[in-house]
Structure formats: C-alpha cells, structure tokens
Symmetry: C2
Subunit: 468 residues, 2 copies
C-alpha cells in the first residue's frame, strides 16, 4: 500500500491545493485521482464549454435583430458542427495540457480511475489501495436523473452528453427550468431548434427573484416554448420521436420532440466514492464540512460541488484558497459565503448576489428593507442598445447593500462593482455617488442605487413586471 503526503480526488479546484502544497513541499509525493478527463467539471463539461456554445447563441440572436439597427443581415445557415467542434477543440487543448502536466510531474502519481474509500484515510484506486493523512475531496457532482417511467428506455441527453452532439436535433424537450436547463434551452433555441422547456415549479429559474424569472421567461418565450407547473411522469418512444407525458393542473398533456435534455439539478458522487466507509459524514450524499471546510475526519477537507453548497467554479476556487490556508498552511480560516455572486447566461443574462427581497424582509422587517430599482431602457446606453433589463438592489435602512439582482445583457459584468461594494461594506450611497462613465451600461447600477424606495412602493413596479 502506497502512502502519500497528499491525495487529491478530482482535478478541478482541488488542483490549486495540490499546486500550493507542492510549491511549499517540493519533495512531497502526491496522488491525484480523477475518473474522468482531467480539468474538472467546469472545464470539461460545465461552465467553459457551455459559455463557448452560448456565445454562438448570442451572436445568432444579435444577427437576427440587426435590422433594428439598420443592418440588414440574414442568417444563411447555422453550422452546428462547427459550433460544437470549436468548443471541443478549445476544451481538448486545455485538457491535454493539464493531462501532460499531471503525467510529467515527478511528484504526482496520476490515476485516471474511480476512487473509493475503504476505511479512514485509505482509498481503493483501480486495483491499488493508497493512503494519506491529508486528503482533499473535490469529487464534483453529476447530472441528477429523476426516476421517470420510460426515460431510460427512450434515452436522453444530459449537460455531459450533449457536448458530444454532431448534429442539432430539430426539436428538444428540456426537463427542468433551472439554470442549466435555461442556458442550454437558450443555446438550442437561438440556433433555431424547436425547444420546449418543461418545469415543475410555477416559474423557470425558481431560485431567482420572481421578477427576474418572469422577465427571462417573457424574453425566452420569443424563441422557445415554456411550460411551468408541468410534471413529467412518463416518457414514451414513438418511432423516432420521444414523447413526454406531462401532468399539468390535473390534466395530461403530451410534448413531442426528437430529443430530450434532462437538466433538473446535480447529484453527489458519493455512491461511487463511498465516503461513509472512510468515516466521512455526508448529508443526502453531499460531503459534510465544518466552517473550515474540514470533513468529519480530521485532515480530510472537501470543496466545490462535492459539498453541495454553491456549485459554481468561482466558489470552488475560493474554497480551494480556504483549504490551502487550513490544510496546508495550518491556519484557521473560516469560509464566508456572505458575498457569493452567480450568473445565468440566458437571454437576457442574469446575475445575482446576496439576499433576495423576501429573505431581507424576513431578516430585517418591512421597515428596514428597501429596494433600489432602475430599468436599462431608461438609460442612455440602454436606449442606444435597444435593450430591456433592470437592476434591483436590496438595501438596509442604513444603506448597507444586502443583495443585487440583475437581468440584462452583460449582467455578469455589471454586478462586479456591487460585489466589491458588498465585500468592503461600501453603502448604496457610495455606489450612487461613484462616477460612472456616461453613457455606458453601468449607469443603470448607479441609477438603481440612487432610486431607493420602500418595499410597498416597489410592489407596484414588481406587479407590473410580473404581469408584463
């Protein structure tokens, strides 16, 4: 049995910990295990490939509305194969580079195998058993596949397998309405595929603010069919078509498509990793960690999707930093999730950080929570771009920024000044007084910060947006 100074399970963000460890311990022996291509989910089948694909969708959308701006352009064809191959080429190059790094490091034993705990500090890897007192679990997650009668038999795509597509299905039924469903729904729809989104909740993106969901829904309906409050209970294959049997308001509806995409959430990998056998506690399969990201087994840390918290790459990167401090440098750094932004690359783009309106009301009461709101279409640049969108800030009576929710082109860039403000306890007044280039898109953030109102006043605007 081989003993290592460090074992890393997963080649995503756990690799930052490995690199830091080797920089400080150049003689150390490290085992790195990954059952899949190296690079982690983000690179190999998550945010990077999806954002490459989604950029093609954005370009298609821009071309389609170019007439509004006096540019009479026309799409002669969509080269789906080229779109997919551009993505696979970029990803492939990166994966190869990481693979070579792993294979050529004299300090690293790289196992492309399934890892499985056999007892505390001991892992079975292929036909070997290896051990270490210091283990980093960055084992990721996988698409959650709901138990639906006939689904397995009919066959389906996931966010993993769709990356291998060579041809675009002429129609696609998407089971789910969360961010993966909506991003890929947007991708296929913008390219001309007949997309039908089927969501069980009463709205898509149910984790976002209500008006964000409704606004994205309204815009997405221009290119896709969206059915909410719809539960798929059976899937049938009829010839070369697939049919979803859906229960909606007590009635059964049928949704037919060439292909199905299942995107209802993520599931842990604990069924194969078997952390419990290693004395590592889990909760619904996700690895349990304390505020130092240490598991129930001393010396074993976990990060990223594996802990089932904020499944975003930038959060995993941050958690890797915390693990480096605690597992490598012997510090006691607490993980802090107060300011964790995320984005959804639909059209329009969504970005969000901190508390939502309802959470703020619950925490601080109606008299203490305010809303700052402004529409992109009321700003100079918004008019120039002919784009709708909005910024909604959640603010405490004393000016503390509690949260921010944006639905607009470039939302993922717009939100960063709010993130920085929240991290450093700058107030909404600081944001309002910050000099913003005129006329640039960020003015909408400044105007939202300057346009504060009570939750009651805001409720009229909200109602308008929800019913638009």
């Amino acid at each position: 049995m081989e003993e290592y100074d460090l074992i890393a399970i997963g080649t995503g963000s756990a690799m930052s910990v490995v690199e830091a460890f080797l920089a400080l311990n150049p003689e150390a022996k490290v085992a790195v295990i990954d059952k899949d291509e190296p690079g982690g989910i983000c690179l190999t089948r998550g945010c990077i490939p999806s954002k490459i694909l989604l950029y093609s969708a954005e370009v298609a959308r821009e071309v389609r509305r170019s007439k509004e701006f006096g540019i009479n352009a026309r799409i002669d064809g969509i080269d789906f194969r080229k779109i997919m191959e551009r993505m696979r080429r970029i990803i492939g190059e990166d994966v190869k580079m990481i693979e070579e790094g792993l294979k050529n490091s004299p300090n690293i034993d790289y196992f492309r195998e399934v890892a499985e705990f056999v007892e505390p500090y001991k892992l079975k890897v292929g036909d070997k058993v290896i051990s270490s007192k210091r283990i980093i679990i960055g084992a990721g997650s996988k698409p959650l596949i709901p138990k639906i009668e006939g689904l397995e038999e009919a066959g389906y795509l996931t966010s993993d397998t769709l990356l291998k597509l060579e041809e675009m299905p002429e129609s696609l039924a998407v089971i789910g309405g969360g961010y993966v469903a909506m991003e890929y729904g947007n991708f296929f729809a913008q390219l001309g595929c007949d997309v039908k989104i089927v969501e069980m909740a009463d709205r898509i993106l149910p984790n976002e603010e209500l008006e964000v969901s409704k606004f994205v829904e309204r815009k997405m309906r221009e290119v896709a069919e969206i059915r909410t409050r719809s539960r798929v209970f059976k899937v049938e294959k009829r010839g070369d078509r697939k049919v979803l049997l859906v229960e909606r308001d007590g009635k059964t509806e049928e949704i037919e498509a060439e292909e199905i995409l299942v995107a209802v959430g993520r599931a842990p990998n604990s069924d194969i990793l078997k952390p419990e056998r290693g004395g590592i506690e889990t909760e619904r399969g996700w690895i349990k960690v304390n505020e130092y990201l240490e598991t129930s087994l001393a010396g074993v840390y976990a990060l990223g999707d594996a802990i089932g918290k904020h499944m975003f790459k930038h959060v995993a990167n941050y958690e890797a930093k915390v693990v480096i401090y605690n597992a490598i440098l012997g510090k006691k750094m607490k993980v802090d999730y107060r300011v964790v932004p995320h984005a959804v690359f639909t059209y329009p783009e969504v970005a969000s950080v901190g508390l939502k309106e309802e959470e703020a009301l619950e925490k601080f009461g109606k008299g203490n929570a305010f809303v700052g709101f402004f529409r992109l279409e009321e700003t100079g640049k918004g008019i120039a771009m002919n784009e709708e969108g909005f910024v909604k800030l959640i603010v405490k009576r004393d000016g503390e920024i509690l949260g921010c929710h944006i639905a607009a082109k470039n939302a993922s860039i717009l939100i960063q000044e709010v993130v920085l403000a929240m991290e450093h306890n700058l107030s909404v007044f600081d944001l309002a007084e910050s000099m913003h280039i005129h006329p640039a898109q960020s003015e909408v953030v400044m105007w939202a910060a300057s346009n504060l109102m009570s939750v009651d006043e805001y409720s009229k605007i909200k109602e308008e947006m929800v019913n638009a």
Copy 2:
C-alpha cells in the same frame, strides 16, 4: 432690465443646478439661456447620438465576424438613413420633452438666444439685458476648426453637422485621431465607408497609454486606413472629390475622399459669450474657476466643457453637484478629479482612469510603481468570445491603485469596479481577492490585479504589444 435669482447659460448639466435651486426656492425666478436646441451637447450632438450610431457599427461588426462562431450570416445592405433616423428620432423626443419643460415652467424664462456678457452680472440676450448675482455658466464648447488653406472653401463635416447626414459618403477623410475622430471613424468604417484617418501625432488616441493606442490602431486598420505623423496643410476641391494635401516625413501626399470630417478637438464658446467683459477671467478662452468651481467673479460658477478640463458628461454632472453645494447650499465643497474615468467607443472599446504608467513613474519613481497586466484572450470568457483585449493596472508599492487602462469589448463596464476601488482606497489586493463570476469577462480585471510586475518586466510585454 430684468433681475433674476439665477441665470443659467446652457441647458446641459447647468439644468441640474436650476432644478436643485427651484426645488429649494419654489418662488424663485430663473433665466435659462441656450442658443441651440435644449439638452446640452451630450444629448443633442455629443455622447448620446454618437453612442446610438456606434451601436449600429458594433452590430455590423458582430454580424461580419459571425462565421467564426458557426453563424453563417451575411449583410445584404446597410440602411444608413434608418440608422440616422433612429438616432434623430430618439434625440428629437428628448429635446422636445426638455423644451416643453422649459417653456411650461412658471419659474423659468427660457431664451433660445445667444448670451453675451455686457458687464459683471449683466447679460445681453437677444434684445434684452438681464442680470443676476448668481450665474451658472455651462456654455459648453464647439468643434475646433483648424486654419487650413482651402478647408472652408472645400467644405467639411463636424461632429455637429454629420448628425444631419441623409446618405453615407462613399469615402471619408478624417482630420484628427483623438476620440471623436476615432469613434466616428469607427462608425463609418464599420458600415462600409472607405475611411482614412489623418493624425498629426505619431499615434492615434495620443492621450491614452501607448499600447492602448497601438492596439486600437492595429484593430482599426482592419476596417480603415490610418496615417499618423501626417499634417494636413491644404485642402482642394477637385470636381466632386475633396483632396487633403498632407505633409509626412517631409514629403507631400494626397488623400482623396468624397467628404471630410474635421475632429481635432474642442474650442471654447467665449468668443460669443464674452465672459471677460463680465469680469470673468479665461485661459485660452476657457472659463477659469477655483477649486469650488467659482469664477473670478463672486457668485458666478462654471462647469462642464466651458471650463475646459475633463470634457465628459459624467464629469459635468459631478461638477453640477459641486456647484449645487457651493452656489446653492452655501457649502465649501472642493472639486476632486483624482478618479475620473472616461471611455472611447471605438473597436475595441477603451476605458481609462487615473494615472498612466509614465505619470506614475514621474510621481513615485521606478521602484514604487508596478503594473498589473492580463490579456482577455487568456481568460475563459475571452476565449469563448474570441476577443483580444487587455487590462493594465498602475499600482503603487503599497498596493494603492493609481490608474487603470483597458482596451477590450465592454471596457466601459469593466472599469467601474476599479473606479469604485480607487474612490474608496481599496487596494489592488482587494480587487484580486474580490469574487469574480466565472467565466465572465470581469475576470480579466481580477487576473490583472493578481499579476503584478515591475515596470521593467512589463516593458517586454509592452514592446511586444507596440510592435504587434
């Protein structure tokens, strides 16, 4: 002679002062004078119309490169008239609204006339003489027309008159290479006009960092001809063509085009306003103000282009705030230009704030000034967008951010988190540790903040960029 509680010259940012004054003094009598359409330069012939037009240019550019992303689009035609009419309709609606506001206010006498000082506190307006102890000068600026033999006879466009164009010239010679020249050069070139930029300095955008100039030049050369170190000394009209006679390295060259755009800078309006007669000092025609924005005549304040400092609308808005404090609220607020961002809406977009490398070196010495640098094409989103660009931070030894210079798509949005950081003395390390959404474009700012180097180390990168 009518006596007013306040006289405002100009209907741009000076109007904010009028509004604040009337909010506090609902019985006051105010005179508002503007020889042009109301709304100020920004709205009527500056940033707003240009950004509306430039968005069409951006759309045209996106369409033209859509094949890179698998979208086989083609431009069948450019509807120049529609592009211009969209702009004129939007501006026209706003101007009309402002005009009605001015005409219908019971407190305001609105003069669409030339204002001219006749003595301190007294102005001739049309055939009237009016006076006030409190005067706000927001008289703007106008295109500077260089004295070139034959120019007047040949005829030319300026950033004012080009807004009236009905048809796109088939070719355009642009005299100047500053931001107005480059923005409109970009506009016409992206729409297919044969554009020739003629700049006297050895590079376009001479007020930007050298590598910014060079990068924009390289990219703009894909759509336009750029001649630097070229001095136009004569203009001739030959048939329906106009010919610039240009001196370059001691030789004479000819540049022929259907139309000429003169964009070499801005000039003050003092020749018609005659502030000196009112006891108001000027410097090369620009109104002199102290740090409270008061002119040499007590009670008379000036702001915006008229003072000839930072001729940007967002600066004028800020100056209006300072004037409100000092002229209306009786405070003593000093104007602070430490953190003044600006953008140039070329392709690629440019945004900049604070010190440039050379200024920092001069001020703090080589050992104390550092550069943070990162290329957009080395970030996930940059790869997805297939866009080149970069962020350059100028940093003091202790981490203080002295300046930031960006050339990249969306530069005007990207820079705002740096502006906020500088305003609140957050360090480059704060910027580097701020959680940035992955993979979104703002990561390039974070990576620049994480990638600090000495000026000497940076010089190699700079050389590479300048010679690319």
